[in-house]
């Protein structure tokens, strides 16, 4: 009896497997053709559900908008583009399997990267194995660039360590009597957040600005009273936070409660969040933050992007959407220049070589890369001026003047 059941179950599984492989077989045959007028098929896996679903959906909106824009403007190399987007459920095993499937079974012509360091690394490994060009919209942590990937390019202005470069230059160039002498750093134990704060720390220390507090806290920290007490007690001239969101907000309130008034306060990520002024109120004045993208930026293609995206979605794009669009722009520039878009190693190799040696104009500014795929620009620095977040650095893109020292909070 038992054996009969096992046999039946086994037969069922085999049939199912046959049916499934049969289906996949036909679909890949249907899509893999290569005469000039077929659409260019681009394979992407994104975290549409799970931990990273919010930013994952943002990236998707950016990719979709880009494809629509390209298609309504005559396509790439005269061919329409077609996106195949899979959901990796924010799962690192799944994302590798997805790219494997896209390249092997679906026979896509090009791939775009997924969201976040944790998913970019396994996905990039698959692309590398198949010799595919891999441009990715997110994954700024150093570990992305130390894996020895040769086909990877990060489509954003700067890696985490370089986010504050414009601010570092500004501080170091101040006259000696105004220049801050001591600095306090608090950073979340997270490769991205810590990278931003420590990138600035290294540069300021080199210029002789003494570090008086250097706190690292785990991501689940919610009480910042003690960290704030240490910073307040040090009376540091400036405070820098390597933060995500709630940690920055809680730390700022805790610092205010201890009446600590620094001459400059910079936090990564949080201040650019629309919820930030809702939480902090009027005391945002003078707070600084690096930003990879703002719809106000005056780069040549940005206006067109913002208008097209806003018409399509009813609201202006955010950083995730912009980075996805940038990814599209970067790949498109290589494809147009080289004149091919197919999965053959020869074509993919040419695309990689072209990007290695050229600069691409994008909505986040002109981008070029080093051998590991690190972009060579820096983030814009924004500051709350008269209650609004404005670009203050670098000088040639500024919307408002840099405020120093910071008003009391």
């Amino acid at each position: 009896m038992k054996n009969a059941q096992k046999l039946r179950a086994g037969a069922l599984v085999t049939t199912a497997a046959l049916v499934l492989t049969g289906c996949l077989g036909t679909s890949s045959e249907g899509g893999g053709g290569g005469d000039g007028q077929d659409p260019i098929r681009i394979g992407i896996s994104l975290p549409l559900t799970g931990d990273f679903s919010e930013p994952g959906k943002g990236v998707r909106r950016g990719y979709d908008a880009w494809a629509e824009y390209v298609n309504s403007n005559g396509g790439l190399l005269g061919r329409q583009v077609e996106l195949t987007i899979l959901d990796d459920q924010s799962n690192a095993d799944r994302v590798a399997a997805d790219y494997e499937k896209l390249i092997n079974q679906d026979g896509v012509d090009l791939v775009f990267g997924p969201f976040s360091t944790r998913l970019v690394v396994p996905a990039a490994q698959v692309a590398e194995d198949y010799g595919f060009l891999f441009v990715e919209p997110a994954g700024a942590a150093e570990e992305v660039f130390t894996q020895g990937f040769e086909n990877l390019f990060y489509a954003a202005p700067a890696v985490a360590d370089d986010h504050y470069n414009h601010l570092a230059e500004k501080i170091i160039s101040m006259p000696a009597n105004q220049r801050p002498k001591t600095a306090a750093y608090a950073a979340m134990d997270d490769p991205f957040a810590q990278g931003t704060a420590y990138g600035l720390k290294d540069k300021l220390e080199e210029a002789g600005i003494r570090t008086v507090v250097d706190e690292v806290y785990p991501p689940n920290t919610t009480d910042f009273g003690s960290i704030a007490a240490k910073i307040a007690d040090s009376r540091a001239d400036i405070v820098v936070g390597g933060t995500q969101y709630q940690d920055a907000v809680n730390l700022i309130v805790a610092l205010r409660q201890l009446n600590y008034q620094p001459k400059l306060a910079a936090f990564s990520t949080a201040p650019t969040n629309p919820e930030f002024p809702e939480a902090i109120g009027k005391q945002t004045e003078g707070i600084l933050s690096p930003t990879g993208y703002t719809p106000e930026a005056a780069f040549p293609t940005n206006r067109e992007f913002v208008d097209f995206y806003t018409k399509l979605n009813g609201n202006p794009p955010g950083e995730d959407e912009a980075n996805a669009w940038t990814t599209g722009q970067v790949v498109a520039a290589a494809v147009e220049a080289v004149g091919c878009a197919d999965p053959e190693p020869e074509c993919q190799g040419k695309l990689v070589d072209w990007l290695r040696n050229n600069e691409v104009d994008t909505v986040v500014g002109p981008l070029s890369w080093d051998e590991a795929g690190r972009p060579q620009s820096a983030h814009l620095i924004q500051q709350y001026v008269d209650g609004k977040i404005r670009i203050v650095l670098p000088e040639d893109s500024k919307e408002a003047d840099f405020i120093y020292p910071k008003p009391k909070w």
Binding site: E215, N220, S226, Y245, Q246, V249, A279, I280
Partner: protein, 294 residues
């Protein structure tokens, strides 16, 4: 480590300990009354915090006024939850199964909060959120002091209720020996329901206190449940004064240890205390053996 920093940390530690005591009070009550491990307690705290935030946003009134709504609402919800869900678990496996049941309630609350209010981090913007006054060179934030006051007042009220009223006696009798309590004519089912409601009412107060000085988001409760569980085990399961003393001791030591050790190691204090308690004195340092005494 300067004297002023030590004093400041001491002040912050006392205020933090008070908040911990309030947040843990309900948790120890559920266990005392019913042997229920209530994983959903911290989720209910966050729910109350969200209600306070939503109340402030819709009406513009002080979030403390939302207590008028949340305390009775949570009390009734607690009674209903006990009568409809917890009471149906088999007594033999109650403690174990209550973990599963309340875990699912926690997930449900988190999911609903995410669905209704999205995952965006929220914070009530109070005109007095940064207001503070000096105390021998240390600053005391008004919001933290309010939370501490709420904690002190509710714990005192709970203590008086349990020690002096007939209901309190009945509840303590139910905690100490349910069979004997039934023999002397106490309706232990009803008393247990009210006891559970009382626990949820403290969650309403705790969540509102929490909302004054923290940024909230649906999954925040996972950060709280571990430390709170550690507090009630160290304090002695079921003992409210024990939980309060343990909360104060752990809050103070966490705040003071953070100066030499940093945040990461200071957080492990709760688990070190938990292991030490289980090894040396499994019934907890301040309570009786599994809450046989109050």
């Amino acid at each position: 480590m300067t004297a002023s920093l030590t004093l400041q940390s001491l002040v912050l530690g006392v205020l933090l300990g008070g908040l911990y005591a309030l947040l843990a009070a309900g948790l120890t009550l559920y266990f005392g009354v019913m042997r229920v491990v209530m994983i959903a307690h911290s989720a209910l705290l966050i729910l109350a915090a969200y209600i306070a935030w939503f109340f402030e946003r819709q009406t513009g009134l002080d979030p403390l006024l939302s207590l008028v709504i949340t305390v009775p609402l949570f009390f009734v919800a607690g009674v209903v939850m006990q009568r409809l869900l917890i009471a149906r678990l088999r007594p033999a496996t109650l403690t174990m199964m209550s973990v599963l049941l309340t875990f699912s309630i926690a997930l449900l609350i988190e999911g609903l909060l995410g669905f209704v209010f999205t995952g965006t981090h929220r914070r009530i913007q109070l005109p007095y959120s940064g207001t503070h006054f000096e105390f021998f060179g240390a600053s005391i934030a008004v919001v933290k002091l309010i939370a501490f006051g709420l904690a002190a007042a509710s714990l005192a009220a709970l203590y008086v209720l349990l020690k002096t009223t007939r209901f309190g006696q009945a509840l303590r009798a139910t905690i100490q020996h349910p069979d004997a309590a039934r023999l002397v004519g106490i309706n232990t089912d009803r008393v247990a329901g009210y006891g559970f409601g009382l626990g949820l009412a403290t969650a309403a107060i705790g969540g509102t206190a929490l909302s004054l000085d923290s940024t909230i988001y649906p999954s925040l409760h996972w950060h709280w449940i571990g430390p709170l569980m550690a507090i009630i085990v160290v304090g002695g399961l079921g003992s409210i004064p024990g939980a309060a003393i343990a909360a104060m001791a752990l809050g103070l030591s966490q705040s003071l240890l953070q100066i030499p050790l940093g945040t990461t190691w200071a957080q492990t204090l709760f688990y070190v205390a938990l292991f030490a308690t289980l090894m040396l004195r499994p019934q907890g340092f301040f309570g009786g053996r599994l809450a046989q005494r109050f």
